[in-house]
Structures are given as structure tokens and as C-alpha cells.
């Protein structure tokens, strides 16, 4: 037997759970404190937003909501590594990435509040909206990347799936497409250990999820998804590679879902308490604060100021959400097609008629 191909999966971490820099090579971003502080601020804002969104659902002011608690480093790391002209294809909880890219908090609330207008969001107009059918967004990112390649544009696409989503054909076919067409894209796996109630180990007996990229011969690594510096560095270099025409990469970010799956879920039915307690030790915000503090870049006063600002910003967003004009019954028809087909006109008229009857 001769060996015809060999593959390694490496693991990248810079910031230990204690907030210490580890490893021999220190990326320059680790001492760019202005940047890191602004990232820290966005992480805290995101977490403040998240708690408020859950509260809105609990008090009947919003629908089901998917919390991002614990994912702040990986989500914002992706956002910070991307350029505006790149295309982002999220699943449904990457608000951190989206805030970095200019999506407004009120728009996120509007979406989960059952209003399509939330997906007509601020931020890059070419970005994809939230995607519920698991993993299908990976193919959209691949299609976008193929467009960039065909048009000779220096742009790349980034898709995100979860540990669960990494089992679905669409993700696996996207890896294959990325390989076959040498697409400028980055396929992120945000492995938060759970797919609703199904634990990571039931998705695959593979040692890593990153190794799914080996199927297409793509460079594939694991990063500590609670370490902003590692995520940022990995995504940044994968994007550089993509835009240099060297093809796609797979990055598995290891993190943990500190919340229920969504507000419709009750994780206590299936998740051991001690697992959750343990995971909290590794969470990303604490770690970043420790690092900044140890570097003399952060203190309690700044922290308190920040919490105050975040609260206000989130409150303003909530007001914007709650005060939005209600949608119209005609909206149901008016965005289906560029031009309303004949047979829908009658239905639209009838909907208006019934609306008027019920109002008066």
C-alpha cells in the first residue's frame, strides 16, 4: 500500500480561558487594543441585546427567538474579519456578525417579531437574511462566490452552519462545490455542542467536524470559538486566501450554546446542568475582559459605563421595534413578484375587502 494523500486538522487558540495569551506566535491584533476594546464593547452590546430579546419574547412582545448567548466571539470575529463587499450568509443567530456589518438591532427584533421588513435590513444590501432551512444558506454563499469568480471581483462569501447543520447534504455539497469550482468562500461551522437536544457526538463519530472539509481537499482547521483573536485570525487569513484565488476553507469554531436552543426550547429536559456550568468557565466575554484588564486596558469604571450605554442603546432599539407602523394586508401580495400576476389581483382585492369588513 502506498500513501496517496495525507491530511492534518490543526487547532488554533491564542487566548486561554484565563485571558492569557498562549502559543509562540502572537498575531499583531493581540496588541491592537483600540480594536479589541471596540470588539469587547460590541460583544457586551450583543449580550445585552440578547437578554432583552429573550425578555421581549417572554413578555409576549415578540415571537420565538434564537439566543446567541456564548457565541459572541465567533460571531463578531467573523464580522470583523470580513469586508463590506464580501457576502455573509448566516443561519439565524449570528447577530454579532450582523451588528458589525451594520444591521440594526431593531431589525433583528422585527424579524423575530414576525415581520418580513426585518430582513430588508441595513448593512450590506447584498447580504443574505436569516436562513431557517438548515444549511441551505451554504449553497447561497457558494453561488455568490461563483458569481464573484465569474465576474472577476475580489470578493468572498462566508457561510455559517452549526454542528447539526454540518450533517446536512447542502453543507457537504457546498464543500464539494467550493472544491470543484475553487470558490472564494469560507465555510464556518459554529460548533456549539448541541443541535436543539441532539449532542455533537450524535452528529458524527469523526474526531472533528472540520475534517468534513477534507472531502473536498479544502484547508480545514479548528479554532477556539470563544477566543476572538483566534477566530478573527483564522477567518481573516481564509478570506485572504479566497480572494487571492486560492480557494475555499473550512473553519470549525468550538463554542457552547449557553442558552436554550430558542425561547421555544427547554434545555433542562436534555442537558446536564454541570455541562452548562462547566461551559460558562470558557465563555468569550469574561476571557476578553480578563485579557484587556491584565493589559491595563479595561477597568470597572469603563465596564459600568459600557453596561449603561448598552442598556440605553438596546432600549432605543426596542422602542423603534415596538413603534414601527404595522404591516399592511397588501404586503402579502406586493412583494411576491416584480409584477403581480393577473390571477393574484382578484385575491388581493378580496383580501382588502375582507380587511375592510373586519375593520369596520
Amino acid at each position: 500500500m502506498t500513501t496517496v494523500a495525507s491530511f492534518d486538522i490543526n487547532y488554533l487558540q491564542y487566548l486561554s480561558p484565563n485571558g492569557d495569551l498562549v502559543g509562540d506566535r502572537k498575531p499583531s491584533i493581540a496588541s491592537n487594543f483600540e480594536h479589541l476594546k471596540s470588539i469587547y464593547e460590541l460583544m457586551v452590546l450583543t449580550r445585552t441585546f440578547d437578554a432583552k430579546a429573550v425578555a421581549l419574547q417572554r413578555t409576549g412582545k415578540m415571537g420565538t427567538y434564537a439566543s446567541c448567548l456564548g457565541h459572541e466571539a465567533v460571531h463578531i470575529g467573523i464580522g470583523a474579519a470580513m469586508e463590506e463587499s464580501d457576502v455573509f450568509a448566516p443561519m439565524y443567530r449570528e447577530y454579532g456578525t450582523q451588528f458589525y456589518r451594520g444591521v440594526k438591532m431593531s431589525e433583528v427584533l422585527q424579524y423575530w417579531g414576525g415581520d418580513e421588513r426585518g430582513s430588508n435590513f441595513s448593512g450590506p444590501q447584498h447580504d443574505f437574511p436569516w436562513c431557517v432551512p438548515i444549511a441551505t444558506q451554504c449553497m447561497h454563499a457558494a453561488g455568490a462566490a461563483l458569481s464573484f469568480k465569474l465576474r472577476g471581483e475580489q470578493r468572498a462569501a462566508v457561510s455559517v452552519v452549526g454542528d447539526g447543520g454540518s450533517s446536512k447534504g447542502d453543507f457537504l455539497e457546498a464543500i464539494n462545490a467550493a472544491s470543484a469550482f475553487q470558490l472564494p468562500m469560507v465555510l464556518m461551522i459554529v460548533n456549539n455542542q448541541w443541535a436543539i437536544s441532539v449532542p455533537r457526538k450524535k452528529q458524527s463519530a469523526g474526531r472533528t467536524l472540520a475534517q468534513k472539509g477534507v472531502a473536498g481537499g479544502l484547508p480545514s482547521i479548528q479554532v477556539d470559538g470563544n477566543d476572538y483573536i483566534a477566530v478573527y485570525t483564522a477567518v481573516k487569513s481564509a478570506l485572504k486566501r479566497a480572494k487571492e484565488g486560492k480557494g475555499a476553507s473550512v473553519i470549525e469554531a468550538i463554542t457552547y450554546r449557553l442558552s436554550d436552543h430558542t425561547t421555544a426550547d427547554d434545555a433542562s429536559r436534555y442537558r446536564p446542568d454541570d455541562e452548562l456550568d462547566n461551559a460558562k468557565e470558557f465563555e468569550p466575554i469574561k476571557r476578553m475582559r480578563k485579557y484587556l484588564t491584565s493589559q491595563g486596558q479595561w477597568n470597572e469604571q469603563l465596564e459600568n459605563q459600557l453596561l449603561e450605554t448598552c442598556k440605553k442603546e438596546v432600549e432605543a432599539a426596542v422602542q423603534e421595534y415596538l413603534n414601527a407602523e404595522p404591516p399592511q394586508v397588501t404586503d402579502m401580495f406586493d412583494y411576491m413578484y416584480a409584477e403581480l400576476p393577473h390571477d393574484l389581483e382578484a385575491q388581493r382585492r378580496y383580501a382588502i375587502e375582507m380587511e375592510e369588513k373586519s375593520n369596520g
Binding site: 417579531g113 431557517v132 432551512p133 446536512k168 437536544s197 441532539v198 452528529q203 402579502m332 375582507m354
Partner: protein, 326 residues
């Protein structure tokens, strides 16, 4: 005898067959320890073991394909699509394989499987959680499509679906999962898979519906009765095969028919029923056959979903038009 909701009746039927038939296994996303996102498999993994109630990786094409493979080898798998909106990756396996193995092999390999899916809107759920595309599946030869609308029918029809030697798509109208409680005896009695249910007899107009829309249909019937209109109400229950005999018989009596369907109108199941009336039932009709349906638009996010779905008011509006015809 316990009073149970529809979703509890589903669990009861599943438990009954898991106990009675060792070839029965359940598989799907979150069906195990969690008991399914609607708790339809609540407690089953704990009672029957994780070898009988199996959490799968997140991949619906895989779930369907495994199910087909198992069924051809003598198992009786019951797969869950977590929501009907996520059933589409299963379509290839359903239409190309589940529906065909018996015919393809002249009976050598068969596919005694059930695919369960909660379906329909009205529960304030996110995008893709409110689908009702039963017509797509009703168009496929070789697979039965069954939709209960009450706890007892859920129990009896699901038992029949599991025991049926051919594939069955079992759609559970989740909006009424908890609507009513009914006394349902866990006696293992199955219901026929090719029969409509006449829920109320009447002589002036026939209302036909299925699934969650039975709620509004029955509400409309109540209001009409209060106005002195005699309404016959039919729950189709088995969309495919369709028991047109019962519907024809009713329309022969009433001369008027309104069909209520949650799904989009174009090429829906209501169209099939109306088409049959335009053929075999034409001479019975005293008035146009009207359909009250979802619009031919995408089911909106939940702020507008109740405006999309047929309301009692829309049913009444339509029935009144049909009654005006002399």
C-alpha cells in the same frame, strides 16, 4: 379512559405500536430524550430505549433514505419531519423510492413506513414553520396522505398508518394539537384509511375541510345553524386516496359545496374535490363550487398569518354567496 389532546393521542398510538410490534422504530431529530419539539414522542425513548426511538443527525434526506432502507428490510420505521417546512429534502426519497419499491419490484420489496410531520400555520412560529403543502404529496401515486383533526381520529388513523403495508404521510395539524381533549381509549382500534367523516349532517350546504381548518369550518357551521341554515360538515381526513363517494352523496343532498383549505389555492386538494364535483357531481350542483383557501402567496411571517389563512368570516362570506344562488 383518559381525556387526551391530539398530540397526546399521537403519543399514545406510537407507544401502542412500539409495544406491540418489535419492528416499529421511531427516528428523527430530537425525537429521543427531548420527546420531539411538540412532545409527540414524549417519554418514548425513556420507556422503549434509544434503540427504538432514535435521535438522528440533522439531515432530512438521510432520515427519509434510512427509513426507506429499513422498511424494505422488514422494519416498520416511523420518521418524523420536525416541521412540514423541512420535509422537502425528503421529497426525492418519497417520490422516487418509498412510493415505488412495491411496484418497481413487483412486490418483492415493500415500504411499510410512516413519515409524520406537524403541519400548518397559526402558532406564531418562525418562517418555514407554517407550511401546508399536502397537495404536493397527494399528487404522488404510491403514497397515502392522512390528516387527522381530532384526538380520536389521530389515534385511530395513526395506528392504521403504522400498520399499513405501504408508505403513509401522516400530517398533524399542530395548531389544534392542544385545542380539545377527548376521551380516547388505548384499545388499539384503527380507523380506515380511505374514508371521510361526516361530522355534522345537514341539508342546505356541504362544507368540506380537513386538518386545523375543521375548527373554523365547524365555527362557521355553528353560526350558520344559528341563522337557520342546515349545514353538513365533512372532514376529509384521508387526502389520498380520497373518498369522493361520501362527498358526492352529501352534495347530492345539499346541492351546494364550499371547500375550506388552509394551503394556497392553485392546484390544491380543494381543486381536486371541486374538479370531481364538476365531473361526477355536476348535476347535483345548485350553485358554484367555492373554495376558501390560503392566497397564492407565501405564508407570511406570523404578524400577518391569520390574514393569510381562511377565517371563519371568510368561510361565512363565501357560504352566504353560495346560499344566495337560488
Amino acid at each position: 379512559m383518559a381525556k387526551v389532546t391530539m398530540v397526546e393521542a399521537v403519543t399514545m398510538a406510537l407507544a401502542h405500536e412500539l409495544k406491540n410490534d418489535k419492528d416499529v422504530v421511531i427516528l428523527g431529530e430530537d425525537v429521543g430524550i427531548n420527546g420531539g419539539v411538540f412532545r409527540a414522542t414524549n417519554g418514548l425513548a425513556q420507556t422503549f430505549g434509544e434503540d427504538r426511538v432514535i435521535d438522528t443527525p440533522l439531515a432530512e434526506a438521510m432520515i427519509a433514505g434510512l427509513t426507506v432502507g429499513m422498511a424494505t428490510q422488514g422494519m416498520k420505521p416511523i420518521a418524523e419531519a420536525q416541521f412540514m417546512g423541512f420535509i422537502y429534502p425528503m421529497v426525492e426519497q418519497i417520490i422516487c423510492h418509498a412510493a415505488r419499491f412495491r411496484n418497481r419490484t413487483r412486490g418483492r420489496l415493500t415500504c411499510p413506513l410512516v413519515i409524520r410531520a406537524p403541519y400548518g400555520g397559526g402558532i406564531h412560529a418562525p418562517e418555514h414553520h407554517s407550511e401546508s403543502t399536502e397537495a404536493m404529496f397527494a399528487h404522488m401515486p404510491g403514497i397515502r396522505v392522512v390528516i387527522p383533526s381530532s384526538p380520536s381520529r389521530a389515534y385511530g388513523l395513526l395506528l392504521a398508518a403504522i400498520r399499513n403495508p405501504d408508505p403513509v404521510l401522516f400530517l398533524e395539524p399542530k395548531r389544534v394539537y392542544h385545542l380539545n381533549k377527548e376521551e380516547v381509549e388505548d384499545d388499539g382500534e384503527e380507523y380506515p384509511l380511505d374514508m371521510c367523516y361526516v361530522l355534522r349532517e345537514g341539508t342546505d350546504v356541504t362544507l368540506v375541510s380537513w386538518g386545523a381548518m375543521m375548527k373554523e369550518t365547524l365555527e362557521a357551521a355553528d353560526k350558520l345553524e344559528a341563522q337557520g341554515v342546515s349545514v353538513e360538515v365533512i372532514d376529509v381526513a384521508t387526502i389520498s386516496p380520497l373518498d369522493m363517494d361520501t362527498i358526492h352523496e352529501s352534495v347530492a343532498k345539499t346541492g351546494r359545496c364550499v371547500i375550506v383549505q388552509e394551503a394556497a389555492r392553485h392546484c390544491g386538494v380543494a381543486s381536486e374535490i371541486a374538479a370531481n364535483l364538476a365531473d361526477q357531481g355536476l348535476y347535483d350542483l345548485h350553485a358554484p363550487v367555492k373554495r376558501v383557501t390560503g392566497y397564492d402567496t407565501v405564508m407570511p411571517l406570523f404578524k400577518m398569518e391569520m390574514k393569510y389563512m381562511p377565517s371563519t368570516a371568510r368561510i361565512l362570506d363565501t357560504v352566504n354567496k353560495v346560499l344566495e344562488v337560488s
